[in-house]
């Protein structure tokens, strides 16, 4: 088990009905609660008014190109895997107006658009998505010029994480070392235990805000049996990942795969629709759109999610750099699993499996990578 940093609070145990008291505390502290809820035949992220909005009795069945909501008769609140949404929606919104400009005599005046962000408490965040959050932090906040829009939204965030004991058919966080156990970046972590009719939570604070909130939940001390149970459930989850990926030597192997025939085969299947990048919790690329009004007096600059699967994405004067589907797919996968390491120090993939589930034709990043690694080990295609 990951060593516990000193600021983590003592583990405690509480009854499922007392989860509501957590919601009450968050509302008292003026947080808007965002968490999993059933909508449009999926477990999506939405505003939660009470624990009644959580998807009790619902789970999901996921495979390449397929997500199905399913019923179950268990009492858990969090018995499902990652849904189509991630924290990215809230921290790096799909479309943001950055500034407006108005004509001013012969020139023009730029007015920065003041971003508004309230206090958000995310409930039920899995380890994969917390690692994705850490990656977004590096992309948007590290360095000399942090993104003010992201930084503002990020600064008012509270994270109630949940240890994942129900990985899905396309999950591979274990391979990416990004789960299923929550190990960083949370205010409070919960493990939901349902065991022969006994249903309870084990919680632990990971920050000062987490401690304050945890103190408001009616609780008792967690026993060593409870902690062993948490450990067993997480170990069990590790064996139930629907997918796996061999990450040893991954970067080096992918750098040697530039001319691999597999890219062409995948390109024949790839729709270039951009779904994988949209649902990915770490894909951060965006485009700028400048719009004017009809009179030409006022202009706006909008930032919108973009995808490296469009030809406009790599367009520079005279044409698109990545004009073939093969070059676009290769760029995306190698960025996620190799160049990202050089750029940001970690993989750009957390193993949540969303790109596999939501690819309309079920293209599987783990399968593609395995195919490349396998024949790389038998032959050595040259690297350009």
């Amino acid at each position: 088990m990951t060593p516990r940093p000193s600021e983590w609070g003592p583990p405690f145990r509480f009854k499922p009905e007392d989860l509501e008291s957590l919601f009450v505390v968050l509302h008292e502290q003026a947080y808007k609660i965002i968490g999993p809820t059933v909508n449009d035949d999926a477990i999506v992220l939405g505003e939660l008014n009470s624990t009644a909005d959580l998807p009790v009795g619902w789970t999901d069945e996921q495979s390449g190109g397929s997500y199905r909501l399913a019923r179950h008769s268990r009492p858990e609140f969090f018995h499902f895997a990652s849904g189509p949404h991630s924290l990215k929606q809230y921290l790096h919104p799909p479309s943001v107006c950055l500034w407006t400009a108005s004509r001013n005599g012969h020139g023009f005046e730029i007015m920065e658009k003041v971003q508004e962000a309230g206090k958000l408490a995310f409930v039920g965040v899995r380890a994969c998505d917390l690692h994705a959050l850490a990656i977004l932090d590096k992309v948007f906040k590290a360095g000399p010029l942090p993104d003010s829009s992201y930084a503002l939204r990020r600064s008012q965030l509270l994270v109630i994480a949940v240890n994942c004991t129900s990985p899905g058919g396309t999950c591979f966080c274990e391979s990416m070392k990004c789960g299923p156990q929550v190990d960083e970046g949370f205010d409070l972590v919960l493990t939901e235990i349902e065991d022969e009719g006994r249903h309870f939570f084990v919680g632990q604070a990971g920050s000062e805000s987490g401690r304050t909130i945890a103190a408001k939940i009616p609780q008792e001390e967690a026993s060593s049996t409870d902690l062993e149970r948490v450990e067993t459930m997480l170990n069990d989850a590790r064996t139930r990942m629907g997918r796996r990926l061999d990450t040893s030597d991954l970067k080096k192997q992918l750098y040697r795969s530039y001319d691999h025939p597999r890219w062409e085969e995948t390109a024949e299947r790839c729709l270039n629709c951009g779904n994988c990048t949209m649902v990915c919790p770490t894909c951060f690329c965006n485009t700028m759109e400048d719009v004017t009004d009809l009179s030409g007096v006022r202009a706006e600059r909008w930032r919108k999610w973009d995808s490296c699967f469009t030809t406009d994405f790599s367009y520079i004067h005279g044409g698109s750099i990545r004009s073939s589907a093969k070059s676009r797919y290769r760029q995306w996968l190698i960025h996620k699993l190799a160049t990202w390491v050089d750029q940001f120090g970690t993989f750009g993939c957390v193993g949540c499996g969303r790109c596999i589930t939501w690819c309309p034709v079920g293209i599987d990043l783990t399968e593609e990578t395995a195919a490349i690694l396998e024949s790389n080990s038998t032959s050595t295609p040259g690297m350009k």
Partner: protein, 259 residues
Amino acid sequence: MPSTRRPKLAVWKFASCDGCQLSLLDCEDELLQVAEVIEIANFPEASRAVVRGPYDLSLVEGSITTPHDAERIHKVRRASKFLVTIGACATSGGIQALRNFADVNQYIPLVYASPETIQVLNKSTPIADHVFVDFQLRGCPINKRQLVEVLSAFLNGRKPNTPPHSVCIECKRQGTVCVMGNAGAHCLGPVTQAGCGALCPSYRRSCYGCFGPKETPNTHSLSQWWSSHGMMNADICRAYRGFNAYAEAFRRESEAREK
């Protein structure tokens, strides 16, 4: 404003239902502003008063289906500095291009009481097959926000923001749950150009491809996937035979599945 003279706008109709040109009247909030910055010089759906050409901007709706129209479009082109086609009929031949897949002479006697009075071309074709087109605005019907954007871009001498990427990108930006992955729907979104605001998926319906093929459309792979999930070739063929049936990528795919 860079210029004091208001540019002259003309709206032309060919074989179409009028829905796209009515989108201009549908711009209720922006209509007065449009009329302030553009002189609506020739728009029979809005006014009988016609100002003579030439015109700075022509919006052309409809496809070419008759010998008469095949000549008339050249006159329109000559009278227009900048010609923008609007809607699926004008950009791909429209729903009436379904007859391109059959023999029109077999239809005529079934439809018209006096077939000898009908003069019609063998195929319904997009405007760009006949004259040079400066810009094409897709959709069945076009999206009015995109229309205002095109007008605004024209007036301000900039490129319009009408991205050629998939409906999926627009759909995901809205946070809509994918109807294909999630409900197994036969959605054309991954091969269709954005612009509608992912309207159908936001109502849990699959995309009908109203905006025609997106850039780099991989219709073959999408059909293969449907086929491997039990969809019959006849149904796949029908999926592509909609408002943009004669657009190259959709036409090729439907013909491949027709055999």
